[in-house]
């Protein structure tokens, strides 16, 4: 037959096969991070995986026997809803202990997209920092840049001109609309309505084309920088905003009709993944998930930053904290953001879009040829970067997923000494064991998509 047969006993190939059977299993199994059989986990970890969050008063301690898992250990299955899975929104790995279709225990395993951004942040100067931070939460990159710039400006004690403040608000609210549209699309597809995916992306393309026109890039646009904004708005931006606002507002009623009326959508979202306000507060959950349980906490209203106190908008608060409430909170937040964008477009002040202090913002390109110190400023800012006085600050803003905080420590040089980004999805993921307990596998898919984790900011 063919010449391949007498290769079978070739030592090189058997050596290869032998390597193969040892390397991969050792490297994909995450040992202690995984969900171990119930006999192998101690009481406090078992209580966390079962989703019991609220601690009893110090006196009595839950002993594992009375945690109500009536199934014996060999009757249940421990399976992987692994890193490469259509419905885990990126590379989240969930290990579930199932009794048939019902979920008993859950343990999210993350780190499959860990990019060491906080370490890279310490290598880049403040001027370059926002390019690194913007790739963390890739559904709302402008929010990351905003929180990093606010922290840097706070340490520099620099006052950003009003036009830059209002441009920042315009762009971040547009980014919130595009992020919630992306959530509507993937949530629709996870629950089976693929047409929602098409509609969600169709509207999102309108917002992205406006971003491309203003910032030059659809995503990761590095537009909001310490000291203001990269460029002024292109002329004729009011009519683009007008078109975007009218179309998307009209389309939200279309989505409402497409989804809310359907029995399948309601069957899979009503009373699934209920969360009480106490559990949400105990687990430090923020954003639409916290508001869906009834807690009216929105940083734009309670601890306003930029110029949100001058805008009139409503904070949307749910009642039951289930999937349906999270859906209606996000859907109405799109409408609120559209209302805000219209107000911003009316009250946009004229003036500079960057702070004029030469130490922070490089001089305009034309000035460099004329004056010597403009050249020096330009050279200094782009090579060594501007120095930030020593100190530390924590700034938090309301990103589409929750409280996005930036803890910045500077040691007086031109590079951040420590840059820690508080990712809302990183903390919100801890609510999964509480929401998945007792539900079906299909509900697990619906709940993961309603928690809306973005793995870029979870793993940083």
């Amino acid at each position: 037959m063919s010449e391949h047969d007498h290769h079978d006993r070739d030592p090189e190939r058997d050596h290869r096969l032998e390597i193969e059977s040892t390397i991969l299993p050792a490297e994909t199994s995450e040992g202690a991070q995984e969900l171990l059989p119930r006999s192998g986990t101690d009481a406090s970890e078992l209580r966390r995986e079962v989703g019991a969050v609220l601690r009893l008063p110090e006196g009595n301690y839950i002993d594992p026997s009375d945690i109500d898992i009536e199934r014996r250990e060999d009757e249940t299955m421990i399976i992987n809803m692994g890193p490469q899975h259509p419905s885990t929104h990126g590379v989240l790995r969930l290990m579930l202990e199932l009794d048939g279709e019902t979920v008993l225990r859950t343990k999210p395993i993350i780190g499959y997209l860990h990019t060491g951004m906080e370490k890279t942040g310490e290598e880049l100067t403040y001027a370059q920092g926002s390019t690194n931070v913007t790739r963390m939460d890739y559904l709302s990159p402008l929010h990351n840049e905003l929180v990093f710039s606010l922290a840097t400006e706070a340490l520099l004690n620099v006052e950003v001109p009003p036009r830059a403040v209002w441009i920042r608000m315009l762009m971040t609210e547009l980014n919130r609309v595009s992020s919630h549209l992306m959530w509507m699309a993937t949530n629709g597809m996870d629950l089976g309505s693929t047409s929602m995916m098409i509609y969600g992306f169709r509207e999102r393309e309108m917002v992205l084309s406006f971003f491309e026109k203003t910032t030059g890039l659809r995503m990761n646009n590095n537009f909001i920088r310490p000291g203001g904004v990269a460029a002024d708005l292109p002329d004729g931006w009011q009519d683009d905003i007008e078109v975007i606002c009218d179309t998307i507002l009209a389309r939200t009623f279309e989505y409402d009709e497409l989804l809310t009326g359907q029995p399948i959508f309601r069957e899979r979202t009503e009373a699934i993944g209920n969360l009480t306000a106490e559990e949400a507060l105990a687990l430090s959950v923020t954003g639409p998930i916290l508001r869906s349980t009834g807690v009216p906490w929105d940083l734009r209203r309670s601890m306003p930053y930029l110029a949100y106190d001058k805008l009139d908008f409503d904070v949307i608060v749910g009642t039951y904290g289930d999937n349906f409430d999270r859906y209606s909170v996000r859907l109405n937040e799109i409408r609120e953001s559209i209302k805000m964008i219209r107000q911003i477009a009316e009250q946009m002040p004229p003036g500079d879009y960057r702070v004029q202090d030469r130490k922070v913002t490089p001089p305009p390109r034309a000035r460099i040829d004329e004056s010597m110190e403009a050249l020096i400023h330009h050279f200094k800012i782009f090579t060594e970067g501007f120095r930030v006085p020593e100190g530390e600050v924590y700034v938090a803003i309301e990103s589409p997923r929750g409280e996005l905080g930036c803890y910045l420590v500077s040691d007086g040089t031109s590079k951040p000494y420590r840059l820690h980004i508080r990712g809302p999805s990183f903390v919100n993921l801890q609510v999964l064991p509480v929401l998945l307990r007792g539900g079906l596998m299909a509900d697990a898919v619906a709940v993961i998509s309603s928690v809306d984790p973005v793995m870029g900011e979870v793993d940083r």
Binding site: D8, S29, I78, R93, T260, E270, A271, D312, S328, N332
Partner: protein
Amino acid sequence: MDQYLPILILMVLALLFTAFSLVSSAMLAPRKKPSAAKLAPYECGIVPNREPPQRFPVRFYLVSMIFIIFDIEIVFLYPWAVVFHQIATFGLIEVVVFAAVVFVSFLFLVSNGALTWGPPKSLTAGMPPRTSDSTISRISATRPQPGEAA
């Protein structure tokens, strides 16, 4: 004799088709030993280091049994459909009775809860159907923030 000619042709065609596909796949398929990874079960990219569970809840087999009942019902409809014109009204009554009998078994299954899978899902009984505005409240800037959270 001529009644059975089409059946004969059908059998020959079936044989030819299977033979063709078997031979061509044997001939054209790449000649190589599948690697260990390709034979391993697919677990979302994770190499399973614990053997798959042996015991499956009985509920999964229940579903296959239910399927068999209704599959047989459909199989009996085919010959009925072929001779439908000759046995007109009598045939119709016959098949309706047959369907009713199978439907009784379906009612028995539903009453026994074979088709209800998860825990009962309802917040409060008799709740009005929710819309995207019914269960949310809007807190505007004019009304003072409710002080105490939760």
